[in-house]
């Protein structure tokens, strides 16, 4: 049983709660493999996707997960311009709740927004990414994928490569995988890896070749083009030359390494097509597992005693 009505971040979850979500997701993955992929579990409930930041994959995944559970789904996209127009964040959220929402899935460019709204709303708030804080369902689906492929998480050497500083995916994955007993290492330029993280018993490598040695799982992060020219690295070309995942470098990792990417990918920048489309890639399976994990989260939150 989950104890809180909201899923705000991995930081707030216990190991037991994480395992419960992953085990439940396994059940839903079976459902998704059936001919009829829909269950009536949450019929009559309403889900609102409240996205203050553009997103296609996460929003679609949540929408489909909600529909597979038979809830009604409304997409309430709030382009930043209408926020500028004047309606406050809390007013927008209260409006959505007044429409009868049971689940409010929130994405926002400012860290902490789901936490603020969770306090104001009776509905279950699910964090679909807040600023550079967390993206908990991504970390859960990544853990699910690793567990499925490697049959365990404890003791694995997992490398996260790229822009850690600005990545909520990286943050959530660090918390989640550490809680589950994995050994984490971060690889990338010093400008993109906060040095404070070393205090969390995490190894940091600025040299890609050294970092790839003996790695079981390789998570590549998207390099955002906006970062170049702002002092984080001089050009994507130089980034790619030093930290891009090429076939030569890839051979340094373990033979049975799996390669993950939360998408969307910059092919030729952080990862080459040969690897992204190659046999060690589980990138598309991550997407499929995302559905099962999000169904599990909604199902479990619906069961939380209020």
């Amino acid at each position: 049983m989950l104890t809180k009505k909201d899923l705000l971040g991995i930081k707030e979850l216990s190991v037991e709660e994480i395992n419960l979500i992953l085990d439940t997701a396994a059940v839903f993955k079976d459902v998704l493999g059936r001919d009829i992929k829909k269950v009536p579990t949450l019929r009559g409930k309403t889900t609102v996707n409240l996205f203050f930041e553009p997103s296609t994959r996460t929003r679609t995944s949540f929408e489909l997960a909600a529909k597979r559970l038979s809830t009604d789904v409304i997409n309430f996209s709030v382009p930043t311009s209408s926020v500028v127009k004047g309606e406050s964040l809390i007013d927008t959220a209260l409006t959505v709740q007044a429409l009868g929402a049971d689940f409010i899935i929130i994405r926002h460019s400012s860290s902490g927004v789901p936490h603020l709204l969770a306090k104001k709303l009776k509905a279950s708030v699910i964090n679909a990414g807040d600023g550079t804080n967390e993206h908990p369902t991504q970390a859960l689906l990544d853990a699910f994928t690793i567990r499925e492929k490697k049959e365990k998480i404890e003791g694995l050497e997992i490398a996260i490569v790229g822009d850690i500083a600005h990545s909520r995916v990286a943050k959530s994955n660090i918390y989640c995988l550490k809680k589950l007993g994995a050994k984490i290492r971060l690889i990338g330029p010093p400008t993109l890896i906060p040095k404070e993280l070393e205090r969390m018993d995490i190894d940091v490598f600025h040299n890609m070749e050294a970092g790839l040695k003996d790695v079981d799982v390789l998570m590549m992060l998207r390099i955002q083009m906006e970062r170049q020219g702002r002092g984080f690295f001089p050009s994507t070309k130089e980034y790619s030359r030093n930290w891009g995942l090429t076939s030569e470098r890839f051979s340094l990792a373990k033979d049975d390494v799996i390669v993950m990417h939360p998408g969307p990918m910059n092919r030729g920048v952080e990862i080459t097509s040969e690897i992204a489309d190659g046999p060690r890639s589980v990138i598309l399976e991550q997407v499929t597992n995302g559905l099962a994990v999000r169904m599990a989260v909604m199902y479990l939150l619906a069961g939380v005693k209020r």
Partner: protein, 447 residues
């Protein structure tokens, strides 16, 4: 109206008084101070205005209707406090605070003199805005208000404002506050030019290029909360720059709200070298660490940001050894709606006037300062820096007096603030010691 305050423990660092005694107030001025004890008996005990209803008339009649005796036995009697760093928001942001509500909050908190920062709308960068503030304060204010003028026009950091003219109109210090002058040449000129008018230049030390986008102290917590960090170095770099410029120019530099260990060290060293620098800190910088932000509490979002335990210890030591001369509030009231929003977008600031004295008394309770030293940092020292005849109980000065009960406990309830700004991270704290009566120019305000 005459008031006699009897049997209080009088503490007035400006005269070195720390004894039980009586104070007689007449026509808004301090008429007599009588100290009990042999060697300090300089004057005969003041004659109490007759409390008994007699058959007299004339002068006795008026005393009868207007005089009052306050028994301050067991209480501490101090000069009205001076806060040289507040934001009164008027003109322009009256929804956050007005001169009236801000000075009400001041009086409630034991302050009888406040200096308001120029970041109003329009900015107090010319004599007409200064005049407006002074006129409003005279009409509606409950205590003395000294405006602080902007260093540069529009606080833009490009061109000096008319410092001399504003000085004449009543500004007693100059600062661009939250928009610090980034151009070192302009800051040099400000420190040089202000010497002609003998006014301090107050610097909010923050290297804006280094702190860009930051909303809290940089460290592991900012990383794990996903909030942009402001490194301690953003403050230290500017403290060092401004100390260097003060040394170069011989201007009077006052460093606002010191928040880091590094700044304390730099200021201590500068003072040792005889540079003309003074410094302040605020109660939140020695009572709270960045942990107050956990769970994205925007009421703990303040500039400079709350730092770490190590910084708190250094600030306490700086207060103890005199490196930090004064305690100010940086009272920064905001509307509730502005604070109840995305952490990134919420404005910086804490509504501080009504909790400052109690929070500062913690330094006395913990044995870091004596009560004398604390009162000195909130009366005599700011008066010296600003060169004003306030914060004293000298005979003939304005009867600005606070009666303090250092044992009284109470819970902080922002809803009961006189300030419009309810933004405090101290909500629910139980504090010990509060001003129970503030007298401003002979008028008494009970808390």
């Amino acid at each position: 109206m005459n008031i006699l305050i009897k049997n209080g423990h009088i503490i007035d660092p400006s005269q070195g008084i720390d004894r039980v005694g009586d104070i007689l107030i007449e026509d808004g001025k301090i008429k007599e101070v009588h100290i009990q004890g042999k060697e300090q008996r300089a004057k005969p005990p003041p004659t109490p205005p007759s409390p008994s209803r007699g058959e007299g008339k004339g002068e006795g009649e008026s005393l009868l209707s207007e005089s009052r005796i306050i028994d301050a036995f067991g209480l501490i009697v101090i000069p009205g406090l001076i806060d040289m760093h507040v934001h009164l928001r008027e003109p322009g942001f009256e929804y956050k605070e007005t001169i009236k509500t801000g000075t009400m909050a001041a009086v409630k908190g034991g302050f009888t003199t406040v200096c308001c920062m120029p970041n109003t709308f329009p900015v107090n960068d010319n004599a007409s805005v200064t005049e407006l503030i002074i006129r409003k304060a005279a009409q509606e204010g409950l205590c003395t208000v000294f405006p602080i003028g902007a260093i540069t026009k529009g606080q833009k950091g490009e061109e000096l404002a008319e410092i001399g003219t504003m000085r004449k109109e009543g500004c007693i210090a100059f600062s661009d506050d939250g928009q610090p002058v980034m151009n070192s040449l302009i800051m040099r000129r400000a420190l040089e030019y202000s010497k002609a008018f003998n006014v301090p230049v107050i610097s909010h030390c923050e290297d804006l290029t280094l702190s860009e986008g930051g909303v809290m102290n940089e460290g592991l917590l900012s990383v794990t909360l996903g909030l942009s960090g402001i490194p301690a170095e953003a403050e230290m770099i500017m403290v060092y720059r401004d100390i260097s410029l003060a040394e170069l120019t011989g201007g009077r530099l006052h460093i606002a709200h010191v928040s880091t260990q590094g700044s304390v060290k730099l200021i201590r060293d500068a003072k040792k070298r005889g540079i003309n620098v003074t410094a302040e800190t605020c109660p939140h910088y020695f009572n709270l660490t960045q942990d107050a932000i956990k769970d994205f509490n925007t009421n703990a979002k303040v500039s400079p940001p709350l730092r770490t335990e190590r910084d708190i210890e250094a600030i306490k030591e700086g207060l103890r050894d005199g490196t930090i001369d004064i305690i100010a509030t940086d009272h920064a009231p905001h509307h509730k709606d502005e604070k109840q929003r995305e952490f990134d977008m919420a404005p910086f600031g804490i509504s501080g006037l009504e909790t400052a004295l109690s929070l500062s008394l913690k330094l006395v309770q913990k044995g870091i300062l004596t009560i004398n030293q604390l009162i000195e940092k909130m009366t005599l020292n700011p008066a010296k820096i600003l060169r004003i005849d306030k914060g004293t109980l000298k005979v003939g000065s304005d009867a600005d007096i606070v009666i303090l009960d250092i044992n009284k406990e109470y819970e902080v309830e922002s809803e009961r603030f006189a300030s419009k700004g309810k933004n405090t991270p101290f909500e629910g704290w139980v504090l010990e010691g509060m001003p129970i009566l503030t007298i401003y120019r002979g008028r008494a305000y009970e808390r």
